[in-house]
């Protein structure tokens, strides 16, 4: 009797539940709204108007020109076969002002150039938990712009522009006052800066490929505690520049062919307590340029065929350079000071020609990576006209025998005989 009563109660509860869910489906079961040029709903704006939170908008292939589209509800916006959303070079395309929006599989083109507004392909404004995944963004002023947001993902996007001048071109992925953002697997090219951060904290940037940007492949300021790993920065106008930041980690990145008179693999300006490990610097005019940077740990990197592997300015202190490979650089290390407050140990130098009598794979003669000629060049650049002249070699040789002008303590006491793996 009692058992029957309980059973009927459950039945009643189930009935009630079903009744409620069917009568007001929008609240509990999200619905899907299909937008297509030939369907009932032709406009994305209209679809957003009639949609409720948690709905999915499925955009069928076609060309949509709707000006600025504001997403102020918690929606999933999905494209099938990359429908084209064209901003017609006028204003912004998507402006997201609601949390938890997902934008996926769209082809977003031509957000308008402006000298007043930062018009973006997709702009996230003061939101949380948003995702921008698998989109193609072509010829936008700014492509993805994230402002005052947190916990968002920007993944697998292909971002391309064909800017020619810094002033008329925006950034690929632009973050401003953000926390905990993940930027992964994006391909960015032809923008002003590939990835730009300002006041961003605790974010992860990995597996991105930033190439042929007009200014920097990666550019950040005041962005503490971020991790950059497995990214490739290739052939950017000025390489990578990072400034005024604490606690960053740069691991396993490739800096490739950032070549030009004002171009750097990485330019570090006032970077503190950071780690740069296992990166490869290949054919950059300067591998790493350090200015006013302290307590940076540079280890296990490969510096191969750069103009300068390291340019260490006198205002950088307590940096550690250990277990790096310096191979075939025009200049390994230069500095503009006769004093040195940095630490070099256990690196492999292809220019090293000491010996190893006790066969412990560590050279018995210390290595001085700063050559006299490179020191002179650092102070007076036109001297580079004497690069690879007999006189420059004689100069270096003399300094090796009678070291007077090069920093006494800038010395690797345990140079490795073999390339470090």
């Amino acid at each position: 009797m009692f058992a029957l009563k309980i059973l009927s109660f459950y039945r009643f509860a189930l009935f009630l539940f079903l009744a409620i869910s069917f009568s007001i489906p929008g609240f509990l079961f999200p619905k899907q709204i299909t937008i297509s040029p030939s369907g009932k709903i032709k406009s994305i704006k209209r679809a957003i108007e009639i949609a409720a939170d948690n709905d999915t908008l499925l955009i069928m292939p076609g060309l949509y020109k709707e000006g600025n589209i504001r997403i102020n509800k918690k929606l999933v916006i999905m494209g099938r076969n990359y429908p084209v959303i064209d901003g017609e070079n006028n204003g912004e395309i998507f402006t997201v002002t609601s949390d938890s929006v997902i934008i996926k599989g769209l082809k977003i083109i031509n957000s308008g150039l402006s000298f007043v507004e930062d018009n973006a392909g997709i702009k996230l404004e003061e939101v949380k938990n948003c995702s921008i995944i698998n989109n193609i963004l072509l010829n936008n002023f700014f492509a993805v712009y994230v402002a005052k947001s947190a916990d968002c993902f920007v993944e697998n996007n292909k971002i391309e522009a064909h800017g020619t001048r810094e002033t008329t071109s925006g950034n690929g992925i632009h973050l401003w006052y953000c926390r905990n953002i993940t930027i992964a697997n994006n391909k960015i090219s032809g923008h002003r800066d590939g990835i730009y951060f300002e006041f961003v904290e605790s974010s992860k940037i990995y597996d991105n490929y930033s190439k042929d940007n007009i200014r920097y492949g990666l550019h950040f300021m005041f962005s503490d505690s971020c991790v950059y790993s497995n990214n490739t920065f290739e052939n950017n106008g000025a390489g990578v520049a990072v400034m005024y930041t604490h606690n960053i980690k740069m691991l396993n990145n490739l800096f490739l062919h950032n070549w030009g008179s004002a171009s750097y693999g990485i330019l570090l300006k006032e970077i503190f307590d950071s780690q740069i490990s296992n990166n490869r610097f290949l054919k950059n005019s300067s591998g790493i340029y350090l200015e006013g940077s302290n307590r940076v740990d540079v280890s296990h990197n490969d510096f191969i065929e750069n103009g300068w592997a390291l340019r260490l300015m006198a205002n950088s202190m307590d940096n550690k350079f250990t277990d790096n490979n310096f191979i075939g650089n025009s200049f390994d290390v230069t500095t503009n000071s006769v004093q040195n407050f940095n630490f070099f140990d256990h690196n492999y130098w292809s220019e090293y020609n000491g010996y190893d009598l006790n066969k412990d794979r560590i050279g018995d003669v210390p290595y001085r990576p700063v050559k006299l000629f490179s020191l002179l060049v650092e102070r007076n650049q036109p001297l580079l006209i004497l690069h690879r002249s007999l006189f420059a070699s004689v100069l270096d040789l003399t300094e090796k025998v009678f070291p007077i002008l090069t920093p006494e303590s800038l010395i690797d006491n345990h140079p490795s005989m073999k390339r470090i793996k």
Partner: protein, 262 residues
């Protein structure tokens, strides 16, 4: 006609002596060896550049001096014949310069061909290095002729030739470095451009280095240099300067040769 005859005879004479074979073999071994040890062709070319800039002037100077003094009896004999002095002089000069150039070109080309590496991407640089090598041979042979004619004393002639080589290969750059250091508060781009033209070795080095993309390292100076040497006019001017460098010592040497009482 007589000029060709003299050159032919001299060529025959030079080819018969063994040093020219060593000279050819030297380039062949250097190029082939470097290509075998490293796969990086740009490195090989950079080393070849160093060889061209240091070895060619030195060898041309030394051989030119030895050649001239050794041929003294022959010169005196030829002067007793009814032959124009200029013809004899030019015959002697080309009789040495041509085999030197040939052995340089043959040695390098042979080394590359035997290794059969694809130098297509570097063809421009290689061509520039070869041209520089040829010019430097011509220039330093002429210089050594001039000093040899000027100095009756073998030792003095030799010393003068070596000094000129030392000056252009080494001391000149020292002076240039001193000047650039001393005047570093002034814009020095045009200045260093002009000064580097005053020395054939420097000019050749800068020409080649710029092709290696080194300009990017030089900041503003590099940009100025690239702009000058990068265009046809700049190249034309540089090669004109190199030609003048070859022609001037030859001209003075001939003048001296015409008047000299052997």
């Amino acid at each position: 006609m007589i000029l060709v005859k003299i050159i032919k005879y001299q060529l025959h004479d030079v080819m018969r002596s063994k040093w020219i074979i060593f000279y050819t073999a030297f380039y062949f071994i250097v190029i082939y060896g470097m290509l075998t040890f490293t796969n990086d062709i740009s490195k090989v070319l950079l080393s070849l550049m160093n060889v061209v800039l240091i070895i060619i002037p030195l060898i041309s100077t030394i051989l030119g001096t030895i050649y001239f003094y050794n041929n003294r009896d022959y010169i005196v004999f030829m002067l007793s014949q009814p032959i124009n002095r200029t013809t004899i002089f030019l015959g002697l000069y080309f009789g040495l310069a041509i085999p030197l150039i040939l052995s340089f070109v043959v040695g390098v080309v042979l080394g590359i061909v035997v290794y059969s590496s694809s130098l297509q991407n570097y063809f421009g640089i290689l061509l520039l290095i070869m041209l520089s090598g040829i010019f430097l041979t011509v220039i330093f042979t002429a210089i050594s002729f001039w000093t040899s004619i000027k100095n009756e004393d073998r030792l003095k002639g030799f010393g003068a030739a070596i000094f000129i080589w030392l000056f252009l290969a080494l001391l000149f750059d020292g002076i240039l470095l001193f000047l650039i250091q001393a005047l570093q508060d002034y814009p020095l781009e045009t200045f260093s451009l002009v000064v580097s033209m005053l020395n054939p070795i420097d000019l050749a080095r800068v020409l080649i280095l710029l092709k290696f993309d080194i300009a990017a390292l030089m900041g503003y100076t590099g940009a100025v240099f690239q702009k000058f040497f990068g265009n046809t006019t700049g190249m034309l001017i540089s090669f004109t300067v190199l030609t003048v460098w070859a022609a001037a010592p030859l001209f003075f040497a001939r003048k001296k040769f015409l008047k000299k009482d052997f």
